[in-house]
């Protein structure tokens, strides 16, 4: 599969009557997006606000962030099986609006929506402070079941990103990049002397607000399977979950998976990147055993020499991570795992809920229990009254002077386990 990705750099977003991209300015019509969102009668209200990098703005509770993209001259659309036809994606041409994101914000669903600060120490911990955020402030109908609300909010974000992304279809991109992975035997034949490397992509799928979707299919019902790396770039995988904000993979992360892009950087040089194995993180032991057995079997079947395994979430999924790692290593295939840590606020506790000596190569996104004090910011998009209750908050997190003391767990994307950030943790 070969995908040409055209990047259109967006440096300003303005609310306007006309919808267009002119130079590096994105013009969007607020009412058109609101109408699109409110076509879902489960939502009572929607408003749009723009937050820019450096603004004295705090956005919370943040549910998902989505990068606007579109397929060019294609029957297919992004997020197949969810808001577009379930066509196979990952080939042809895709245009991306770089530098902006659609962010869904609104009354909390569970406990696990996050905080994004556009300025200050909190901003340094989240990649989303570097984007111009088009915030959809959503309000559910009174009495709406939380699961229905979660789904409505999820679809509102995806539909808006799809709608905005289409403004880029006819625009000449600033930069064009091509990614290609051949069918397995051909790909292996192309670089016969390089080690064959795969990527084991673990998807949060514990259910009950912890779901991911693959071409619209609920990941908890999948058996592990293989995918071309380019499929992710067209939205084949989306987030539908509210795990702790720091280490949930938003849809933006899935679209811009850094493991995939960094493996491609070494593709044909140090390694032969032959493909992706997707798997789930389930709650029943039988499912964990089956999925990890299948992952190891597929890695062996593809003739891999090495894999990177990324995790999503923590605690229970630590067992999936370790089972995958152990079983793959037992096949004689070398592994590197990417995770994050819950080492306590003092950093002195054991970091993971499971361990194995074969997991001898680990990359960490940092200790999510570390505490940070966020200064008061001038503007709030969303609402602050849930700050004490969200994962990472505690009694008294929101203080009278407007500052917030929380574990970095509460900050969206802070300890991402795809290795999206530069943060790590070390022994001192």
């Amino acid at each position: 599969m070969k995908l040409v990705v055209g990047k259109i750099n967006i440096k300003a977003v303005v609310l306007d009557d006309e919808e267009k991209i002119e130079g590096s300015t994105l013009h969007i019509n607020k009412q058109n997006i609101i109408d699109l969102v409110l076509a879902d009668d489960r939502l009572a209200d929607c408003d749009i606000e723009i937050a820019k990098p450096g603004d004295s703005t705090r956005i919370t509770p943040v549910k998902d962030v989505i990068e606007p993209r579109c397929k060019v001259d294609s029957e297919s659309g992004i997020f197949p099986g969810v808001i577009n036809k379930v066509n196979l994606v990952g080939s042809g041409r895709t245009h991306v609006l770089k530098g902006c994101g659609v962010m869904t914000v609104g009354k909390i669903v569970g406990f696990q929506e996050g905080i994004v600060d556009m300025q200050g120490p909190g901003a340094e911990l989240t990649p989303f402070s570097k984007l111009i955020e088009i915030c959809l402030k959503l309000k559910p109908k009174d009495g709406l079941d939380p699961h229905q609300y979660e789904e409505a909010a999820r679809l509102a974000g995806l539909k808006s990103a799809d709608y905005i992304g289409k403004l880029g279809e006819k625009v000449e991109p600033d930069e064009v990049e091509t990614f290609e992975t051949l069918p397995l035997l051909e790909q292996i034949g192309k670089y016969p002397h390089l080690p064959k490397v795969g990527y084991v992509y673990m998807l949060q799928s514990q259910g009950l607000l912890h779901d991911s979707y693959v071409y619209g299919a609920d990941a908890k019902h999948l058996v592990p399977t293989t995918m071309y790396p380019t499929e992710m770039m067209d939205g084949a995988i989306i987030s539908g979950n509210c795990v702790s904000a720091c280490d949930k993979n938003t849809t933006y992360h899935h679209l811009n998976n850094p493991v995939i892009s960094d493996l491609y950087k070494q593709h044909g040089k140090e390694i032969n990147f032959v493909g992706v194995i997707i798997t789930n993180e389930t709650v029943y032991l039988q499912d964990k055993v089956r999925s990890s057995d299948f992952v190891a079997k597929l890695a062996e079947y593809m003739g891999l020499d090495g894999v990177i395994i990324s995790q999503e979430g923590f605690g229970n999924p630590d067992t999936d991570l370790i089972m995958n790692c152990k079983k793959i290593e037992e096949k004689g295939i070398k592994t590197v795992v990417v995770t994050d840590e819950y080492a306590g606020r003092d950093g002195a506790s054991q970091s993971l809920a499971d361990a194995d000596k074969r997991a001898d190569a680990a990359v960490t996104g940092g200790n999510a229990n570390e505490v940070i004090t966020l200064p008061k910011l001038d503007k709030v998009i969303g609402q602050l009254d849930y700050v004490d209750d969200i994962a990472g908050g505690f009694d008294g997190s929101l203080r009278e002077d407007g500052t917030i003391k929380v574990e970095i767990q509460a900050i969206t994307g802070a300890t991402n386990e795809l290795g999206f950030n530069k943060m790590s943790a070390q022994e001192v």
């Binding site: 070494q266 605690g315 993971l352 960490t364 767990q409």
Partner: protein, 348 residues
Amino acid sequence: MTKKFRLVHYINQFYAGIGGEDKADVKPFAKDGVVGPGMAFKNALGDDSEIVGTVVCGDTYFNENLESAQKEVLAMIKQYEPDLVIAGPAFNAGRYGMACGAVATEVMAQLHIPAVTGMYEENPGLDMYRKDAYIVATRNSAIGMRKAVPVMAKLALKLLHGEEVSPDADHYFVRHRKNFTAEKRGSARAVDMLVKKLKGEDFKTEYPMPAFDNVEPAPALKDLSKAKIALVTSGGIVPKGNPDHIESSSASKYGSYDISDVKTLTEETYETAHGGYDPAYANENPNRVLPLDVIRDAQAAGEIGSLHDHFYATVGNGTSVANAKKYASEIAEKLRADGVDAVILTST
């Protein structure tokens, strides 16, 4: 000549030359300049620092009067206005290790200056105080003094000069983990690590896997109909309104709640505080997580002897293993004191 760094050395009665076990109740006192092993440190430290005073305390006195002794020792150290404190080394002497660890920890917490001590890996003071104090690895007896002194002195000098230190390079036990910003993003570090691993080159994991603690299940009860059963959960079931404010993740506490007059848990009276799963079904019927309804049935049917009048609850989500262990051992002690024979422990 520039100003010399000021150091204080803490030692016990034995190293001060006062005596052994029979003199271990010596009260703390301070003496200007070096005493005993302080001379070796003085030589190893070199010219830009000076041990301005030594504080001595008997090991028995320190450990039996922990709080007051700690205060007295700290006050004596403080009067010298030091830049750094060296304690011990204690090798494998347990009570000396506890004292050195406590002194080093308090110095760092209250005087905001670094403190260096030394212990053998099995010294009980290590586990107790390692997370803050710089504890250099030593041999198990005073034979190790000659080797320990230069390592401790070198670490002390680095800390005085504000240089970066690490457990690997400076031979002290890992204190804790701390976040930092690496040069490359995590995914690029992972690819680099994999390439090295594939080539058989040296690589360094960012998280060395710990040895894991497995618990053997206890033997089965012989007669359930006479057993006193308790309910304990990490699923976050609490009285409605979460009176103890147990956190939705990374719980800093657990709660204990009287259920002597409660037959079943309802949506109106109980809820979950847990943030790691969808709370909708647990809130609708909290018995799904804490099975009070069925245990009451079993009690009525005479299948169990009795149900303990309190249940214990915390939130397992994102809670560190160290805290979980602490809560578990406290809860277990209380249950044992209350004559509980077995526990139904529900997780989520």
